[in-house]
Symmetry: C2
Subunit: 449 residues, 2 copies
Amino acid sequence: MVEHARDSSPREALRALLAADTEPRLRRLVHALSPREAAILIESLPPGRRELAWELVDEEDEGEILVELNDEVRAQIMEGMESAALVDAAEGLPLDDLADLVADLPDDITERIIRSLDEDERELLQSVLVFPPDSAGGLMAPEVVSVRPDMTLEGVLAYLRSHPELPEDLYCVYVVDRRRRYRGVLQVRDLLGGAADARVSRFMDTEARPIHCDTSASDVIRQFRNIDSSVAAVVDDEGRLVGQITADDVVDALQEQTDHEILGSVGLDEEDDMFAPVAVSTGRRTLWLGLNLVTALVAAGVVAWFKPAVERVALLAVLLPVVASMGGIAGSQTLTLMVRGLSQGRVRNSNVRWLLWKEIAVGLLNGLGWALVVTLVTLGVFSNLEVALIAGAAIAINLLAAAASGVLVPLILRRINIDPALAGGVVLTTITDVVGFAAFLGLATMLLL
Amino acid sequence: MVEHARDSSPREALRALLAADTEPRLRRLVHALSPREAAILIESLPPGRRELAWELVDEEDEGEILVELNDEVRAQIMEGMESAALVDAAEGLPLDDLADLVADLPDDITERIIRSLDEDERELLQSVLVFPPDSAGGLMAPEVVSVRPDMTLEGVLAYLRSHPELPEDLYCVYVVDRRRRYRGVLQVRDLLGGAADARVSRFMDTEARPIHCDTSASDVIRQFRNIDSSVAAVVDDEGRLVGQITADDVVDALQEQTDHEILGSVGLDEEDDMFAPVAVSTGRRTLWLGLNLVTALVAAGVVAWFKPAVERVALLAVLLPVVASMGGIAGSQTLTLMVRGLSQGRVRNSNVRWLLWKEIAVGLLNGLGWALVVTLVTLGVFSNLEVALIAGAAIAINLLAAAASGVLVPLILRRINIDPALAGGVVLTTITDVVGFAAFLGLATMLLL
């Protein structure tokens, strides 16, 4: 039944909705989806039909679905909602989700929502809102349970039992000193498996490293992979416990980071609506095309510079794209390895020089090998030994330049605070195009004219 | 201190090691690293120096570090280890990690390790080993605690207390029926916060969906994002509980999937050693260069076909790369959105037609806009109206072709079971090169010759 709801086309869904008696059924189907599934369903509909789907959502699910929607679609849906409905949707959300939502709400609604919280909740919400959303403080949930090291396990259990509202994500209990400074973690298995009269200090794990609240999302991901745990404490400057990050938040953060890098590398944004109107999408794509046109014109300028050679030997024009693209491909391989190595900490100051020489050696070997192939193919097909040799030489040169650029471009971009994952490809292919064209046509001009 | 160990160059580390009295200090520094940090440190060293770093590793950490190493480096290190050391390293590993390691061990060592396990452990290990490593069954940890719905919370606590060895990742307790079929989850917060004499059935969450053991890693990631929890039960064909997947395993799986897609798109493998010897790396890169050469030669063939036009008007050669690259860039944007939309479930049968028309409309608008710019630039720089108009027309045609290919190529590749994330780029740029060259030179041949 759920399958049916997911696969049916918006048009069918619409038609079904119009036949009034099926509405309760559709409502049940949408209700069976998780908030994220419902969000993706809504995002998959063209803008005009989204309101219809939103109508089918249970009021109590609205808040969680809004949190899952991408920024653009969320703004669209919230625009159509009454203030009272927005306040209702926000109420009852976990505080870290509420913090994400509040950033996008009009001030008067935020105020009404904050007024609906009790004092403790208000304080916790405040503690999340002070951090940027892509920091450890912004990712964390502030609701945690903490105990003192000199309590007995029995005491901890009694304390938990008397706690008015335990957090949903209770995967461990944190140990703090009297000034709330983080001291370690008491795992559930030790809490439940240990002797009742034993002290917390005997069982707590003091090696579990906390994460500082200002840590960037990408460093949170890296630290999480290092600690190999499903949960980590977040501490402030004074080392005081302020919240916890669970691995499911890290999964979301990692997916967002990946989307950001992959879409960013073609000039797009992960929060954009894939189903936005044509005019909006056209505008978003056009800037990147303009940037590419500039780099393409630079490469074209090199060809223009050597136009006399092409006028004399038109075969050069045939082989131009081959020389340039072999360099682009080889360079992308090195660049991709470097970007990944940098982000995962495999590439360090101490081994960059070694890597540069290695990549140059690989470029040289592959350059010579493929130069030979291109020379033979050109000779065989066009029976022009001179052009064949020049093409081979140009490929060898371009593969060397590609290897060096593949290592150096990301390092230089990083030094000037540009993300190599986003800009590396454009810079690199500009270099390999220019070097390829210049080497090929330059050699031809020297030797053939 | 730890920072120092991470940043010091291999050469310095080596030198320090040779001065015998610092060895204990280095050993302490390495010991302070998490297994993954130690693995990355070892991977960051050129092959020859890795054994030296391995010598510094505490024996008790060896197993966990081996698990974290990439396949190639792990094989290298294990080759240098004695059988007894391998057995020692494997002992004491969590069973899901052990299962990963066992796949790479020689049979006689595997046998010795299995003999060192008690019967329960052996059975659990077996239950993981039957699944491929990139399935839910392969990702899961088999050690879980399960209770029956008619137990009281007090009874559950007493059962846990009497349990000889509770799993490390005890984040919840699973509820099963008498045939071990999954019924729901009892959260720690409910177990600890509920009334002692209340039944499990009153508190258990029956909406938490289990994951089937045959689910692929990429579907596990998707389902995990949907359920928004840090842990999920894994069940077999009969719905029986066989283990659990925690979100930190999902973080690793997602990172691996991302690496696989990003490296795969330039013909590389995420398990390859970035610091492999030059000859090995050259061999690995060369195949992809060869494939690219074939596609480049196809594009060159198109230019060769229209060589008379280039012979007559060399300016055509100057603008060729511009026409081709504008198409490549526009097509990559659409392709990237499609691949991501397909993998996240946003692109469905029901909206593909809508998307195709939308992308074509975007391509048309951007094509006309940039065609005008290129026409004006060409006219301004080269004062050749005919070529300027032909270049503009070719760009408009190529952007349309790019938009259609960007939508259709990933759909077709997926239909024939080729991962669009890996092969989409090559196919797409071949199309935009060929269409760009053919449109530009074809029009020129018709209008100028």
